[in-house]
């Protein structure tokens, strides 16, 4: 986006605290008891502190953070659902007033009735909705179900219907909270298509998601929120990396704790892995294993990005292992795009391919470089031909 494009949302020195009532303090009795004891019936929780940022028109803006960090509160403040304690939110343009799909859906009403109710919440009159009705139903692929009550729909069907209505909203700014968290692959694809369409129309979108792939792919700017404080602002790639690093940190902490905890797999087998050295084009990964019996085994390693396995290799067919030992694997890192990758090693029984043990502490390596993909892991050959 160019520097002088107009501001769509401006957030200045935003503060928000919540009063979290103690048990039962929405009752009169507890209020009186608290008043007598000079006790507050609530705790103050700081949800957001001193948040300032600007979103330009046409931005696809991601708000990233762990659960409970204040992302959704921030979105609700943008939507006008919450009122800030201090500071201001200035909106320039029309804004979708909802942050989730299917707001106001009533399980006791039919699909058809819910379409009109939900439409009314988006500001569409009955006549507007009648004009769009067939398109909505067709897009949701629910022609046969519209006269059934919503409670008989599967959750996927409900989401499809809600999405199908929501995308009719003709506002300049859209707020989307975790829309991708529900729905199957086909639904996700529809979402992606819709996002592309929004980008093409230069709509302003504020987007919350834990799907870093989607954030890298669609967003052009992002912020990272941690414990109610806006800690980073940058490109989606930078922010996604911060998010993944923070998450890895937590996974490591959990794994460290788990080391002494109960083990679901038998204690008879051990496997650890570590990166011995990383050069520009390759790295050496060392795996140590041990077994207390003389079963024949093999080792497998998988390379993961954002929790998804992107490549796997094992010692089969020729290297069959017994007892204990060490082995190294040299990985050609030139095949990977930039990002953070994890290496996971596991020990398997040859006879029945049973998983014996895996590495509790994952090894990690980082590939640096310019970001020219939307977060893809593997590099493929450039074999373009221009006619």
């Amino acid at each position: 986006m160019s520097e002088n494009s107009e501001v769509a949302i401006s957030v200045k020195d935003l503060y928000k605290t919540f009063r979290l009532p103690h048990e039962q303090s929405s009752g009169l009795k507890q209020t009186i008891i608290n008043a007598v004891n000079r006790k507050k019936g609530y705790e103050i929780q700081k949800a957001l502190e001193n948040i300032s940022f600007e979103i330009k028109q046409g931005d696809f803006f991601a708000i990233v953070g762990r659960n409970g960090s204040g992302k959704s509160t921030l979105l609700k403040l943008l939507a006008g659902i919450y009122i800030p304690d201090k500071g201001s939110v200035t909106i320039n343009g029309s804004l979708t007033p909802f942050i989730e799909l299917g707001v106001g859906f009533n399980q006791e009403l039919t699909g058809r009735e819910n379409v009109f109710l939900n439409g009314a919440l988006l500001g569409f009159s009955k006549r507007d909705m009648q004009g769009m009705y067939d398109d909505i139903v067709e897009f949701a692929e629910l022609e046969r179900f519209m006269d059934q009550k919503l409670k008989n729909y599967s959750s996927g069907m409900q989401v499809r219907l809600a999405f199908s209505i929501a995308i009719r909203a003709k506002t300049d700014i859209l707020l989307l909270d975790e829309v991708l968290a529900v729905g199957d692959a086909a639904f996700q694809q529809k979402c992606y298509d819709y996002f592309e369409e929004l980008k093409k129309q230069k709509k302003t979108v504020v987007f919350i998601s834990h799907d870093m792939g989607a954030i890298r792919r669609f967003c052009n700017r992002a912020v990272y929120v941690d414990n109610g404080i806006l800690t980073h602002e940058g490109t989606p790639s930078e922010i996604a990396d911060i998010y993944l690093e923070e998450n890895m940190e937590r996974v490591r902490e959990a794994a460290d704790k788990q080391k002494d905890g109960p083990n679901l797999l038998s204690d008879k087998h051990k496997i650890t892995g570590k990166v011995l050295k990383q050069a520009e084009k390759d790295l050496v990964f060392e795996v140590s294993y041990s077994a207390q019996d003389d079963d024949e085994m093999y080792v497998g390693i998988s390379i993961m990005k954002e929790g998804v396995s992107v490549a796997e290799i094992n010692t089969l067919p020729d290297k069959i292992l017994t007892g204990k030992g060490k082995l190294t694997y040299t990985l050609d890192t030139g095949m990977f795009n930039n990002g953070i990758y994890q290496l996971d090693a596991a020990l398997f029984k040859l006879q029945n391919k049973q998983l014996l043990e895996f590495t509790k502490r994952k090894s990690e390596f980082v590939i640096k470089g310019e970001d020219i993909t939307r977060g893809a892991a593997l590099k493929i050959k450039n074999t373009w031909k221009i006619d």
Partner: protein, 269 residues
């Protein structure tokens, strides 16, 4: 809540759809559906007529059966509008937390549903008036005025109680008790002549209650001029004005209290 926004296009659409939804959900899953809106007052009338027309003779007002039903119908309207209005904000909590829109629409929509129900009940009242041979007077034209008066009072209470209910869920129980007491403090099943025979002062005090005053005035206008109203027992203009002043005060206080607190509903529910 700007006055000009109250009936903006978007808010009108929403109000309409919420009223329709309310009405659809009311008889959800019942075989007779909307017919219940008419059957309920009809059965209520049958019971009242047997109990108070034959078993306990409370008074000798002309067209007592219709007189009784009309009073009950108006009282039920008041009870429904305040009760459902009070619960409306809390019960729509899911909506308030996910979407930004003027909160008063929720309270307004439930009270309008009560108004629709009243209209249906009045159809039954009209039928019974014909059956009973009630002679229609020009004064019947005043009935809408009293209905508006009860509605304004109910709306004021609904705004106030809905706000209070967000803070204290005891509100519903307290209001229920108050309404039970108020039912007997209002001359609905007994004619006011019974009170008047004992104490004129007591009758006047009872008639300061806007609901009592409105019901009596409406009965006087529609059913029989035998009905005792403030006008028929006192010439004091101030006493006549007090119920209306109460309505105005309740409405203003209710709206202001609601307005002050409504922006925090989403986080407090």
């Amino acid at each position: 809540m700007k006055i000009s926004n109250i009936f903006s296009r978007r808010n009108r659409i929403l109000l309409r759809e919420l009223v329709i939804t309310d009405f659809k959900l009311r008889y959800q899953g019942s075989v007779l559906g909307y017919a219940w809106s008419l059957l309920k007052p009809l059965f209520l009338f049958a019971i009242m007529y047997v109990v108070f027309g034959f078993l306990i003779k409370l008074g000798s007002v002309e067209h007592y059966a219709v007189y009784l039903l009309f009073g009950i119908v108006l009282w039920n309207f008041f009870a429904e509008a305040t009760g459902q209005g009070m619960a409306s904000i809390v019960s729509r909590g899911d909506l308030l937390r996910k979407i930004s829109f003027p909160k008063y629409i929720i309270v307004l929509s439930t009270t309008i549903s009560a108004l629709i129900n009243l209209t249906l009940n009045l159809v039954i009242v009209a039928i019974l008036m014909v059956v009973n041979g009630v002679h229609l007077n020009v004064s019947a034209l005043m009935v809408p005025v009293y209905i508006v008066e009860i509605y304004a009072l109910a709306l004021g209470f609904a705004f106030f109680l809905a706000t209070l209910n967000v803070k204290y869920r005891d509100t519903g129980h307290i209001w229920e008790i108050i309404m039970q007491a108020a039912f007997y403090a209002t001359p609905i099943i007994y004619p006011l002549t019974l009170v008047l025979a004992k104490s004129a002062l007591a009758a006047k005090i009872l008639l300061l209650n806007p609901v009592a005053q409105a019901i009596q005035d409406a009965r006087y206008s529609l059913i029989t001029h035998e009905t005792i109203t403030m006008g028929s027992i006192s010439k004091n203009i101030l006493l006549t004005a007090i119920p209306f002043l109460i309505v105005i005060v309740v409405l203003i206080v209710g709206v202001l209290y609601f307005r002050k607190n409504s922006k925090f509903f989403a986080e407090n529910i």
